[in-house]
């Protein structure tokens, strides 16, 4: 029994750990500087927790085997060891708080610094069960919104106020495109319940909260097409509420905008 139990404990631990080495199911590619710093923090955490995992499960299996085998000596009468308590408490504290402090820097870079100069503003409005992307058009101004003028089938899902001249050149489309290497500021909104904007490759996620306009910024540095998946339970269509982010070279991006402006 002791050996079998030890082998099973080590076995499940090994089984759990192996895919972290083979990376059979792994993080998608990182397409921005921010994404790469998140990955660095992730790997740092993985090494730290991985080490603790191996030591703890290893120790558990070993102790179960060593002290489970039949032997004649009595168990050791000990109420503990204050030195060991102090040591491993300090070690754990240093590891965990250290990781926390290292991670805060990554977080601060996203949220505490202001939006970069010249960031392209794009408004993203979630609804049950679609994403609506709005560009301000050549005038660079978003038209005012009026919920009474919302018309999903009539091509005005966010309710641009027809009386506002700034809204005349706004482009409302179901997918997003951004130029590579340019900062973008997303203005996140929702029409009905809480949704969440999530692009794994950007390592960015932000809930869209009713009543709030939340800004996040990113700078994509690799071209490609990436899925936007809703990441907050929003109703029966939550699983299929998705859109696409296309990161394009600047000329393609201009072309993309022009094609949609015409519609």
């Amino acid at each position: 029994m002791p050996l079998l139990l030890a082998i099973v404990i080590w076995g499940v631990a090994l089984g759990l750990a192996i895919p972290f080495f083979t990376r059979t199911w792994w993080l998608p590619q990182a397409i921005s500087g921010h994404a790469r710093t998140v990955d660095e923090q992730f790997m740092l955490t993985l090494y730290g927790t991985g080490l603790v995992f191996v030591l703890a499960q290893g120790a558990l299996g070993y102790l179960v085997w060593k002290y489970g085998r039949r032997r004649t000596e009595a168990a050791v009468y000990s109420h503990g060891n204050n030195t060991m308590e102090a040591l491993w408490t300090a070690a754990t504290g240093i590891l965990f708080i250290g990781l926390a402090i290292a991670g805060e820097r990554v977080w601060a870079r996203v949220y505490y610094l202001g939006t970069p100069e010249g960031a392209i503003p794009i408004e993203l409005t979630g609804q049950q069960f679609a994403w609506n992307v709005r560009y301000p058009g050549p005038d660079g101004k978003f038209g005012a919104l009026d919920i009474r003028q919302i018309n999903d089938s009539g091509g005005n899902p966010v309710g641009i106020d027809s009386k506002d001249p700034a809204g005349k050149d706004d482009i409302t489309v179901p997918t997003m495109a951004v130029p590579v290497h340019r900062p973008v500021v997303l203005i996140l909104r929702t029409k009905d319940v809480t949704h969440s904007f999530f692009v794994p490759e950007l390592r960015l996620k932000q809930d869209t909260v009713p009543g709030l306009e939340i800004r996040i910024h990113f700078t994509a540095d690799r071209t490609g097409t990436f899925e936007i998946a809703c990441a907050e339970l929003c109703g029966l269509g939550h699983y299929k509420m998705r859109s696409f982010l296309e990161v394009l070279e600047p000329p393609e991006y201009e072309k993309w905008l022009r094609e949609r402006a015409r519609q």
Binding site: T89, K191, R203, P210, H238, Y239
Partner: protein
């Protein structure tokens, strides 16, 4: 050391009841009430497991015709094929039933009620009538929750977390009508019952300890029931308040959680001024202590069992007490880690994150001390011991995934993915359950006067231990691929296709693991009737429950209240006649 010379005459001691109704239905006896809570949680866990199997089946075979499903849910599963909305309802009910009626019920109200008074040398809880009331109110709450399945629109689909506006607006989805209202009412009833129970536990521990049973001689199980009760007292009131506000938003025209300007399915919603974030703060202010309520008693059981079957004192008793209290206190400061991407102030994320990482420290202390208890021990591999050892392995795994989630920069990626689902299932859905199994195998002889079958218990352990790693291990990898959670189907988002083999593996593992639980159910009920007679102290353990007959008489000690001379973990004391010294044995004897 303070001696609790509380006069036993001052305790309301009631005569033994006669008649079936007073003995088994409306009983004031904490032992009967504990078993009632335990049986309630058994029914709940059975339903919860069936729901989870239905969910796992649907994820792999979404168009399958499932037998009986069409007749049970004519709206949600016409022709036996589960709709996405029914999946979400089953998921909501699975979470709600498991968290409240299993994990908050069996470890604290079940085992706590049964064992606590005996372990501290009392005849019963401080308020036996309140205790009976607490159980029956909990039972009514369970019925109200189950009723949500059968009303028009069915059970709610907003998850066990019930975020508004989805949960506040009946227009927002099927099940969001009467079903959601019943869900809120059920939780309000459950909260009220929990508050009553918490008052009972705290008073009992403070007032009814036998002479010589100082707080620092109490078994660690009593410490965890104590801190858990304090957490419950402080947290459930907040859930009750939040539920009341949500109910009012739904039926009384208020807008605590719903802002203006919303349009749902082309309909302008008549609310204004509310904040969805307010619900999240209230819910998680309760919700985080709630998960410590779910795990602390299991930790107490594990400490008890590891010490008993290593024939060694628990390693670092005072550090363990400190850790339990720290977890309780810190547990009130971390709720924002559920809300890093919610839209709350990003500056608060730092505070919540540092506290969250800090709470890993007392958890690590406990883990090291459990390992330290095994070190130098003389281990006996009984069924309770196997589950206690399994708990340690699962707690390490589940706890470590929390280190990723507690950092907001990493949580940006993992929030609302299967990585979170992996984390909380490992910790709650498995470690906590192993605590319940360990407690069952350990105290069954005392509760029913019979022994459970050891071979069946061991078989149950092997299947379950390997099974739960097989079901929940792969969820970590799904999280790495950014697989969102709460998706009814995998057909909407393209990058989920790579996960299909993992989903199939997990579903097969889940079927096998759930089937293996039949071994436990069979062992439990068969042994109640046919198990071999249990002696007073089958495990040669030191705490007070093992000094009374199996099962104990109505007032536990038959009038002969114990006096306590030592701590709860005096095993293998050098020079003693036996390798264990009972707490109530006067000095010098074995």
């Amino acid at each position: 050391m303070a001696e609790m010379a509380h006069s036993h005459a001052a305790v309301h001691v009631h005569a033994a009841p006669t008649g079936f109704i007073r003995k088994y239905i409306f009983s004031l006896d904490h032992k009967v009430i504990g078993i009632q809570y335990y049986l309630l949680s058994l029914v709940a866990v059975f339903i919860g497991m069936v729901l989870s199997l239905l969910m796992r089946w649907h994820l792999v075979w979404p168009s399958a015709k499932i037998p009986l499903l069409g007749s049970l849910f004519p709206e949600g599963a016409a022709g036996g094929v589960m709709t996405p909305e029914l999946y979400l309802s089953l998921m909501t009910m699975h979470g709600t039933i498991m968290v409240f009626f299993v994990l908050t019920t069996a470890p604290q109200s079940g085992f706590g009620n049964y064992v606590l008074p005996i372990q501290i040398g009392a005849a019963d809880m401080a308020f036996p009538t309140l205790n009976m009331l607490s159980f029956w109110v909990t039972f009514v709450g369970f019925l109200v929750l189950l009723a949500a399945f059968f009303v028009t629109g069915g059970a709610p689909l907003s998850g066990w977390t019930g975020y508004p506006p989805l949960s506040a607006l009946p227009e927002a989805g099927p099940g969001q009508g009467t079903g959601q209202t019943l869900w809120i009412v059920s939780l309000a009833i459950f909260s009220a019952a929990s508050l009553l129970g918490a008052l009972n536990f705290i008073t009992t521990i403070l007032d009814l300890r036998a002479r010589g049973m100082s707080l620092l001689r109490m078994p660690l199980t009593c410490w965890t029931w104590f801190v858990t009760a304090i957490l419950g007292l402080l947290a459930f009131g907040v859930l009750l308040a939040a539920g009341a506000l949500l109910l009012m938003d739904r039926v009384a025209g208020t807008s605590f959680f719903v802002p203006g300007g919303l349009v749902v399915s082309d309909k302008i919603i008549d609310h204004s001024g509310g904040s969805p974030l307010l619900w999240q703060h209230l819910f998680w202010f309760f919700g985080h202590p709630e998960v410590y309520i779910a795990i602390l008693p299991g930790m107490g059981v594990v400490s008890q069992v590891l010490s008993t079957f290593s024939r060694k004192p628990i390693f670092g008793y005072k550090a363990m007490v400190f850790a339990v209290i720290s977890i309780g206190v810190l547990g009130f400061g971390v709720w924002g880690h559920h809300m890093f991407v919610s839209g709350m102030s990003p500056y608060s994320a730092i505070a919540f994150s540092v506290l969250t990482m800090a709470i890993g420290v007392p958890s690590a202390i406990k883990t090291f001390n459990w390992l330290g208890t095994l070190l130098g021990g003389k281990i006996r591999f009984t069924s309770p011991m196997l589950f206690a050892i399994g708990f340690v392995s699962l707690f390490v795994t589940g706890g470590l995934s929390g280190i990723f989630l507690g950092q907001p920069a990493i949580d940006l990626f993992f929030q609302d993915t299967y990585f979170v689902v992996a984390h909380f299932h490992m910790i709650m859905g498995v470690a906590s359950i192993f605590g319940i199994f360990a407690g069952t195998y350990y105290w069954f002889p005392k509760m029913f006067g019979r022994m459970m079958s050891e071979p069946l218990g061991k078989l149950h352990f092997w299947f379950t231990f390997i099974g739960v790693y097989s079901v929940f291990g792969p969820m970590h990898y799904l999280g790495l691929t950014a697989h969102p959670r709460r998706y009814s189907e995998l057909t909407g988002v393209k990058y989920l296709a790579q996960s299909e083999p993992l989903h199939l593996f997990m579903t097969v593992a889940a079927v096998i693991t759930v089937a293996a639980q039949l071994l436990f159910f069979f062992n439990l009920f068969w042994s109640m009737r046919k198990g071999p007679q249990a002696p007073m102290n089958p495990w040669e353990a030191t705490t007070l429950e093992w000094t009374v007959p199996s099962p104990p008489p109505h007032d536990n000690f038959a009038g002969a209240y114990p006096v306590v001379y030592r701590g709860a973990y005096e095993y293998s004391v050098p020079g003693a006649a036996k390798d264990y010294l009972m707490q109530s044995e006067p000095d010098g004897k074995g």
